[in-house]
Amino acid sequence: MATTAQSRIKSVSYAKYGYIFILPFFIVYSIFSLWPLIQTFILAFHSNGARTDLDFVGLENFKTILATPAENDFKAMGIHETFWRYMKNTVIIWVGNFIPQIALSLLLAVWFTDLRVKMPGKGFFKVVMYMPNIITAASVAGLFLSLFGDSSYSVINMLRGCSDPAKNVEPLKIISSVWGARILVMFIQVWMWFGNTMIMLMSGIQGINESLFEAAEIDGANSRQTFWKITFPLLKTIMVYTLLTSMIGGLQMFDIPFMLHTGNVINENIATVAVFVYQMFHANFAKPSFGYSAAASVILFIITSILGALVFWVQRDKDAMEKAKKRRQAIKEAKRRAKGGGFTI
């Protein structure tokens, strides 16, 4: 009986269900993401200064943003320099937050996964360290503004005695200084994200075969050796992946750079490309600069696509196969060494 039922089922084509099941995704994606993406590309080739009836201007917007402007073309100079200043900020802030973040996260991940260090309260530490990541960026910006603001009455300046005029202490102007603000944003980014990165790296480390570590321990390898000889090489893939996703995330950085200022004017020392995109279509309600905004988005898209392609290149199957092969080899090696009983350097 069963076999006939099965064959009957096999003869029914279920392909249409496949289409039905994935249809909602594609419809909604097309309307709310793909169409806007296409719109963005179209707008990038159109003029600025109005909401409707835009003229086709070819590559003019890209030229203005990317090419060195003419001597007295202040408008082009303004747009060009703003874009590049924001691009520079984006890169600086990203590098400045990524390096300490990955170092710190890696160190913590290794500690948390180190079999030799018995650590009660591990769970508590992990929970606390991930906590900053869940707080709304608006709240974080507000909080850090009152902690490190320019005013004599921010927490940091009060600790230095600035709120007492008799002491006559010049307040620290972190937010309005170029590097002060950048370093603060880097710090906030590290503060918000190191817990997340740490946990990702931990999962990477836990993915490494435990017998490797055990073997190393039996061999008497110290923590440093274990890290450089086993953990780090095997973690490379996930590290590269973290690097690239963080880069893509970094290109999108918006909330903190956008909100960390007092007064009307956005802090241009920390504003990112995403802020540029937003500013261009928001600055003037009747005359938005959709063209520049869209052109900057397209540039962002191209950069992201290149980075995205790199992610897939790193993550591709061949790599996984190679990794597995390496792991097997490493285990064999470790076992061989374990038999040999010596850990020679």
């Binding site: 906590m131 960026a137 290109l251």
Partner: protein, 297 residues
């Protein structure tokens, strides 16, 4: 070779070393914990202090003015004309909750479609999802704004909630999860029992996918709760009864005539309570989820 000698020193030396190391690590961890908690602690403390105290001295000891500050938020027109924490939380809850439900359900459905069935466009569909996974929100923002203007969807929750039906990264995650831990035989069995495809998904697949659903649901919730960027693009006119929690906080910190730091801190404090509570209650899931997902938003 020197390493060898240290090892040969005997168990005692090794133990001491581990102990010293553990102690150092502990110190570092405590320092980091403080780094994470002190800003939040200052926030909580200042939420309980009066304005005049806040601007005269830094303190780490809570005071007694929390309810005064809350009253200021409630009664002072500078705040109460837009700051209504209950309303804000409700709005955020509608958006985050709606997104969360749609995201996990439809991502599950899409992933199910991609894993269970064989069809011609299966390959291309998956490649497409992979390809669009990395497109930043900001890139489509201009076009999105333009679309909303044309469709007259500004100031509506629809463009905040409905798009979460299509979440490429979550589909990707669910697909991987299904491939690794979902027994396809079960579906075959259900078919023999005469269950239709959609019911199979609802009654068999979803319960089996619970862990993945839960993790992604929590993430989607927190992410959408905090998504100031999209909210500020869509809810352009900032109508009081539409404001979400992050938008209210953003307004509070940008009021330029506010004389009351205590009330400001209290507003921020109120805004983070719901997520922190959800987080602490579900922290095990979340930490597990980050590890399993491995995808940074």
């Amino acid at each position: 070779m020197s390493k060898r000698i240290t090892y040969d020193d005997g168990k005692g030396g090794y133990q001491t070393k581990v102990l010293v190391k553990s102690a150092l690590i502990y110190l570092a961890l405590i320092a980091l914990t403080l780094m994470c908690l002190i800003p939040i602690w200052i926030l909580v403390v200042n939420a309980t202090r009066a304005h005049t105290d806040i601007i005269s001295k830094v303190s780490l000891i809570p005071s007694t003015h929390l309810f005064d500050n809350m009253r200021t938020l409630k009664e002072n027109k500078l705040y109460n004309t837009f700051f209504n924490p209950l309303r804000g939380m409700l709005n955020s809850l509608i958006i985050a909750g709606g997104c969360c439900a749609l995201t996990v359900f439809f991502s599950g459905l899409t992933a199910y479609g991609l894993v269970v069935y064989d069809f011609k466009l299966k390959g291309p569909a998956f490649v497409f999802i992979l390809a669009v996974m990395m497109v930043p929100t900001q890139v489509t923002a201009v076009g999105f704004m333009n679309l909303l203007i044309k469709m007259k969807l500004l100031d509506s929750y629809i463009p905040l909630i409905v798009p979460s039906i299509a979440a490429p990264a979550i589909v990707f995650f669910m697909r991987q999860y299904m491939l690794s831990s979902f027994p396809l035989d079960i579906i075959e069995a259900a078919r023999i029992d005469g269950s239709n495809e959609f019911r199979t998904f609802l009654t068999i697949s979803i319960p089996m996918m619970k862990p993945a659903f839960a993790v992604q649901a929590i993430f989607a919730f927190i992410q959408k709760w905090n998504d100031y960027y999209t909210q500020s693009i869509v809810l352009v006119s900032g109508k009081k009864n539409q404001l979400t929690m992050p938008m209210m906080v953003q307004k509070v910190i940008s009021i330029d005539r506010s004389p009351d730091s205590g009330a400001n801190y209290t507003a921020i404090f109120l805004s983070i309570i719901p997520v922190v509570v959800i987080y602490v209650v579900l922290s095990k899931f979340i930490i597990g989820g980050v590890a399993a997902g491995g995808v940074k938003e």
